[in-house]
């Protein structure tokens, strides 16, 4: 286990606490994320990962504590936050192209920049051929690629991903994990990737934050210093996976 410290983190999560009446879901969570880092969050089922992400994205207010981006309290209007949900979020009345552009439209990107970036992202995720189709004409994996492309397109300060590939089969997941890593490496975004799949976390992340059961705290941080592309059968990969599994296993 290793703890990561940097003098000027991009994202600071400070004293994150969420209570519903007497029930404490998140209990004084602290951690930092460096600019351009891909951090994975894993934890036991029901530990409050989704609540944690909802608080991070400001969909839900925290009871105490806050998230800071470049030292300022995060604000979805001011900062570029993006969220990839587990459920498909492609808007059915928009074509693939229009869906990917949605975040940039909300962020009021200048038209020229929007078109340029749209073409670039569509090409990067391989959606240029299907750009004029509607979501009900494409597959489930492509729907999730729309959501990922839309999130990366706004050049987010922080991209939150809530088990985005949880509903896909193994083959598609491997493919999309590779694509995610490629996008992250190309666009140098800061990504927080929540998953219950430890293998997936070790495959994509530079660092893994392990949460405890409720009331949720940070149990440990694990640095994944493996070269890319990563190999699931690499002994070091297996060792990190086993270590993270032991950290989660409380039974």
């Amino acid at each position: 286990m290793a703890h990561c410290t940097t003098p000027r983190p991009k994202i600071q999560v400070s004293n994150f606490t969420k209570r519903y009446g007497d029930l404490t879901v998140l209990d004084n969570i602290h951690f930092d994320i460096r600019e351009g880092e891909l951090v994975s969050i894993v934890g036991p089922t029901g530990c409050g990962k989704t609540t944690f992400l909802n608080c991070m994205s400001k969909l839900t207010e925290t009871t105490e504590g806050n998230i800071f981006i470049d030292g300022e309290v995060a604000n979805p209007v001011k900062h570029n936050l993006a969220f990839v949900f587990q459920e498909p979020t492609a808007l059915p009345w928009r074509t693939v192209r229009q869906n990917v552009a949605y975040g940039m439209e909300v962020k009021k990107f200048p038209r020229d920049e929007l078109q340029k970036r749209l073409d670039y992202i569509l090409n990067l995720v391989g959606l240029e051929d299907t750009a004029d189709l509607y979501p009900n004409q494409i597959s489930a994996s492509m729907m999730q690629r729309i959501a990922v492309a839309r999130a990366f397109a706004v050049n987010p300060d922080l991209l939150l991903m809530d088990e985005p590939y949880g509903q896909l089969d193994v083959k598609l997941r491997f493919y999309l994990e590779d694509e995610l890593v490629k996008l992250w490496q190309t666009l140098k975004s800061t990504v927080l990737f929540v998953t219950h799949n430890i293998e997936e976390a070790v495959y994509v992340a530079e660092r893994i934050i392990v949460l405890t059961p409720k009331p949720t705290k940070v149990r440990a941080e694990v640095v994944v210093d493996l070269p890319r592309p990563r190999n699931f059968l690499d002994p070091k990969f297996i060792e990190i996976r086993r270590h993270v599994t032991d950290l989660i296993r409380w039974w």
């Binding site: 994205s57 400001k58 969909l59 604000n75 979805p76 209007v77 001011k78 900062h79 936050l81 993006a82 969220f83 949900f85 459920e87 979020t89 808007l91 059915p92 009345w93 928009r94 074509t95 949605y102 975040g103 439209e105 909300v106 962020k107 391989g126 051929d129 299907t130 189709l133 509607y134 979501p135 009900n136 004409q137 494409i138 959501a147 706004v154 939150l160």
Partner: protein
């Protein structure tokens, strides 16, 4: 090319079924009714006229103003004017009101109690007051038609916004979209299938109310044609008026359906 568009045609039988059902309906009707002046086991022409006689009357009424004082075209035009003015006004007021009520709680708080009070009142119950306010001219009928058309517009638009997928709203919020932006870019498109349903329902309500309004107070229009048929004991005129109302409604319904399928290409395919 990573994909291929495939056009799937309906089987021939399925495509023919609508025509078969209409043809059967008219054939059964034609042979179930006696010709004028003939008395046999069939329905007498004094109770119901045959489709062929109705068609002949329709052709005659294209130029002949007797016995009701206007040609079929004039009646249809008057009814269209009344119905469309009321219908369009109902859409213009009802749909934005329903959409706003669905998303903004302040609008809902202000408008819903009044709407709930007005909604159960049958449109024809407004006729006496309308005659006091507007007389029996165009304004009065438009008002009654507007009242009947606005109810489904408000309800469908309101429910349509309520049916917006919450994940879409959350997605927009995480991008920092304002309430207005979410309303215009997520809630309104989400509500469109229900809004188009409202267009069809409101159209039916408007036609029904139009005929009701013209039955009571008018001197031209398809409803008036039906009333004159009754007064003259002419079932053929009554049927002609009814068929004209039905046909006009069906044609407008088809036009709305076409527009809907174009606009909602991604939602209904």
């Amino acid at each position: 090319m990573a994909f291929e568009t495939v056009k799937v045609r309906k089987p021939l039988l399925l495509r023919l079924l609508p025509f078969l059902s209409v043809a059967t309906f008219f054939l059964v009707w034609e042979f179930a009714v006696s010709p004028p002046g003939v008395s046999d086991w069939r329905i007498p022409s004094t109770l119901l006229t045959r489709p062929s006689d109705t068609l002949l009357l329709a052709i005659d009424k294209l130029t002949n103003v007797n016995p009701d004082g206007a040609t079929l075209g004039t009646h249809a035009w008057v009814s269209m004017q009344e119905a469309f003015t009321g219908y369009i006004l109902a859409l213009l007021v009802g749909i934005p009101l329903g959409l706003l009520m669905g998303w903004f709680s302040a609008v809902r708080g202000l408008a819903r109690p009044i709407f709930e009070l007005v909604r159960p009142i049958p449109p024809i119950a407004w006729i006496p007051l309308t005659i006091f306010w507007f007389g029996i001219g165009l304004g009065g009928k438009v008002f009654i038609i507007w009242i009947s058309g606005i109810v489904p517009c408000v309800i469908n638009a309101y429910i349509g916004v309520g049916m917006t997928n919450p994940v879409h709203i959350q997605m927009a919020r995480t991008f920092g979209a304002s309430d207005w932006k979410i309303f215009t870019s997520i809630c309104i498109p989400s509500a469109l299938p229900m809004v188009f349903g409202a267009l069809q329902i409101a159209l039916a309500y408007c036609w029904v109310t139009l005929v009701g309004a013209e039955l009571l107070a008018s001197d031209q229009g398809l409803g008036f044609l039906i009333t004159m048929g009754r007064n003259l004991g002419r079932t053929d005129i009554v049927i002609l008026g009814m068929v004209s109302v039905g046909l006009a409604g069906a044609v407008i319904g088809c036009i709305i359906d076409r527009i809907e399928s174009k606009l909602l290409a991604g939602i209904r395919r």
